[in-house]
Symmetry: C2
Subunit: 126 residues, 2 copies
DNA sequence: ACAACATATGCGTTTATTTGCATATATTTT
DNA sequence: AAAATATATGCAAATAAACGCATATGTTGT
C-alpha cells in the first residue's frame, strides 16, 4: 500500500503534474529546459523532480553537465494507468507550458540542451 | 487544473484509498458498514467520505437514517481512468478490508443496513 | 415527546508538505 | 586552476492536511 500511496502522492501537486504533462510530450528534457518551460525556480523544479523520481515515475540520465529526465517507461499496470489519466487533463496552464516547451526545445543544437542563459531565462525570475 | 488536482489529492490518503477500493467491490455501502470494515472511527470515515464526495468520486444517497455511498459512475475519462488505476492496487490491508466487508454486509436484512451495534462494533474502538 | 441511533462538523492540536534562500557538488570551458 | 554553468540539498519558515474530541443535526421506534 505504501508504495502505491507514494506514487499517488507524487501526483498530487501542481508543479509535478505540469512536469509529467510536459514529459508526456517530449522524450528527454533537461532541468533548465523544464525551469524555463514552467517559469518556476530551479530549486523548486529540482525538488519536485526528485519526488517524482523517488516515486519511480521519472528517470534522469546524466549526460555531461546536464541531466535529462523522461518518463519511466518500465512500469507496471498501476503506474501505467495513472500516467494515462494525466494525459486526459486539459488545462490552460498546460497548453501554455507546451508552447514554451516548444520554443525552448527549438533552441537546442544537435538535439542537445544549450549552455548559458537563454532569452527566456531572466523572465523565469520575473 | 484545480479540479483535476482536487481529484488527485482526494486519492492521496490511505483511508480514502481503502474506501474507494471497498466501494469498488460493493454497490452501496452505508457509513457504519464502512466504519466496521475499516476499523476506523466514525468521524474519520465521515470526513474522508466528504473529501471524496467533494472531489466528485463518490455520491451518497440518504435512505432513512442511513446514507449509502457508492462510486460516482457518472464520470468522464479522467476520473474513470483514475478509478481504474485504483483497481490495480494489491495490498494486504485491502484484502483484509474485503473480508470484513463481506462479514459486515452478510448481516444486512432485506439488503438493508442493520440498526444498532454489531459484534464488530465495539472492536472498532479497540 | 423521548431515547437510541446514524451521520456530519467546528475547532484546536499535531503532523506532513512545500517554499525560499543559501550553499554544496559536479562538470565544462578558458 | 579559476570562472561559469547545471543541478541538488540542508534547514528554517510558511502552508496545508489530518486527527480527536465533543457536539450538532436529523431519523426512527416506543
Amino acid at each position: 500500500m505504501e508504495e502505491y500511496l507514494k506514487i499517488i502522492k507524487s501526483l498530487s501537486e501542481r508543479t509535478r503534474i505540469r512536469i509529467l504533462a510536459l514529459l508526456n510530450q517530449a522524450q528527454e528534457v533537461c532541468v533548465s529546459e523544464i525551469v524555463d518551460t514552467l517559469e518556476e525556480s530551479q530549486y523548486k523544479v529540482s525538488r519536485h523532480l526528485k519526488v517524482l523520481q523517488e516515486a519511480g515515475l521519472v528517470v534522469g540520465s546524466k549526460k555531461g553537465r546536464w541531466i535529462y529526465y523522461q518518463l519511466n517507461n518500465n512500469q507496471v499496470h498501476f503506474q501505467d494507468q495513472i500516467l494515462k489519466a494525466i494525459n486526459y487533463i486539459s488545462s490552460d496552464i498546460l497548453h501554455k507550458d507546451l508552447e514554451r516547451l516548444k520554443t525552448r526545445l527549438a533552441k537546442r543544437v544537435n538535439n542537445q540542451c544549450i549552455s548559458g542563459k537563454t532569452e527566456n531565462y531572466s523572465e523565469s525570475y520575473q
